[in-house]
Amino acid sequence: MRTVRLSDADNVVTAIAQLAPGEDGAAELIPRGHKMAARAIARGEAVLKYAQVIGYAAGDIGPGAHVHTHNLEFRNVEAE
């Protein structure tokens, strides 16, 4: 398995090698070091890495999709 999951709560994993479509759950090409959706993520849903919010889905993201600047946006998160 050439992905690393940092926390059980995460909905993205990091590819430790470039993944071609079909390899290790990738739905498309995932460059080395980049994130891949571990399951479907709905538009506006929080993207979690290290069990923390790193941003929000800018559109619907399918499982195995590349998650990066084109579909992951940062919004100011207020402390609660």
Partner: protein
């Protein structure tokens, strides 16, 4: 399944525990640097052979101490905290303070401000009173020769892991730092905190944009507010110096896979594990809380580690992706490589290969436990790679804040 872990440490009169036993020649100002180096340099391994429990005589020289604003200015007070912090670090068994005599950073004031009483293990002198460089060096050597038998009396005894304070540091980071080495160090920090020990995270600019991640973990509101105050100070400091704080992923970061500022800062914060934030401290301020804490510092590693050691850290763990030849005294540095390629290429400098997390050879938790167990062994006297190479004589870099005049 609770175990009480321990290491062999030096219990000091203050009750705090050291991992090493050095004699320090501390300088109040750059003008006494050569005197300090000559004094310390006299004590070669041959001359120390009769004192096997003394790790060495080390000179802490720097480039400041004068040409600066005095009492009441941030820079002066930060330097005072560094001086006092090193003098009282549990890894130091004896101190000789050497100055010129007319510097801004007056030794007498320092002694008075911190309520220190000079004695056999804390002595001071200055070049102007001594009558020049040669006489200062000769007298300094004489003073240390009287200290050596006393410092050599110290013995390691079993101490609980709760008495360890570890500085958490990263430098030469790469795309893997936040995925392998930093989370592994975070797990090691959690293990230490579970024993009642302390981890000190620093490098304030690297958490910028994600400070809420730490404030959300703050043990109480006051602690969280202190962190917010530090961030506001940095915004003002960088604006005054015509820079700006921008921890957003650079084009290089994005190419490597980092997408948002939160993700980048999280990678840095991952070194601190998952436990509550129990204290927030100014640069070089004594860390008094147990558990996971934060100390203000620049991202610049030598200055950051200098502050962490002054705060009381007796070990340093340093993650690196591109590679580092950093080392530190009196608290030794343990290096964790983020990737196996660099670990192999720089095997004389790296202590732990966290790159095995990428190859599937180990989990974050397994590497984290290895790091924690290495902390206990190095604390007990095993040398780290950087320590074995003798590094740490030139890495004393107090953070210089303010105008040089």
């Amino acid at each position: 399944m609770a175990t009480l872990d321990s290491f062999m440490g030096y219990v000091r009169p203050s009750g705090r525990v050291g991992t090493r036993n050095y004699i320090a020649v501390l300088t109040s100002v750059n003008c006494s640097a050569t005197a300090a180096r000559m004094i310390a340099g006299h004590f070669t391994p041959d001359r120390l052979a009769a004192y096997p429990n003394v790790d060495g005589v080390v000179a802490f020289v720097h480039g400041t101490g004068c040409g600066m604003a005095g009492q009441g200015s941030e820079g002066f007070e930060a330097l005072q905290r560094v001086m006092w912090g090193y003098a009282r670090n549990p890894n130091i068994g004896g101190v000789l303070m050497a100055g010129l005599g007319c510097e801004m950073m007056q030794i007498d004031w320092l002694i008075e401000a911190y309520g220190l009483s000079p004695g056999p293990l804390f002595q001071a002198m200055n070049i102007q009173d001594m009558g020049g460089l040669r006489k200062t060096v000769d007298k300094g050597i004489e003073k240390i020769e009287t200290m050596l038998p006393l410092v050599n009396q110290a013995r390691r005894t079993p101490c609980p892991a709760s008495e360890l304070m570890v500085a958490l540091q990263c430098g030469g980071s790469d795309a893997w730092s936040g995925v392998t080495a930093n989370p592994a160090v975070g797990h090691a920090c959690d293990l230490l905190v579970a024993q009642g020990g302390t981890g000190v995270l620093a490098e304030t600019p690297e958490i910028y944009g994600a400070e809420h991640l730490l404030t959300a973990r703050a043990a109480d509101r006051a602690t969280g507010d202190k962190l917010v105050d530090l961030i506001r100070w940095w915004e003002d400091y960088t604006a005054r110096n015509k820079g700006s704080m921008d921890n957003n992923p650079s084009p290089g970061n994005k190419k490597g896979g980092l997408t948002t500022i939160l993700e980048k800062s999280l990678g840095a914060v991952a070194k601190g594990g998952t436990t509550p934030l129990n204290g927030v401290y100014r640069y070089a301020e004594p860390v008094t809380a147990r558990g996971f804490t934060f100390m203000d510092s620049p991202g610049y590693d030598p200055a950051s580690v200098t502050g962490q050691i002054a705060s009381g850290c007796t070990l340093v763990v340093f993650t690196t992706g591109r590679g580092s030849a950093f080392g530190s005294k009196p608290s030794p540095t343990i290096k964790v490589a983020t990737n196996s390629e660099m670990y192999t290429r720089m095997s004389g400098d790296m202590d732990v290969d966290a790159g095995r997390i990428l190859s599937g050879g180990a989990t974050v938790e397994q590497v984290g436990r290895e790091i924690y167990e290495m902390w206990l062994r190095v604390a007990s006297g095993e040398q780290s790679k950087s320590e074995a190479q003798g590094l740490g004589d030139f890495e004393f870099v107090p953070w210089q804040i303010g105008a040089v005049m």
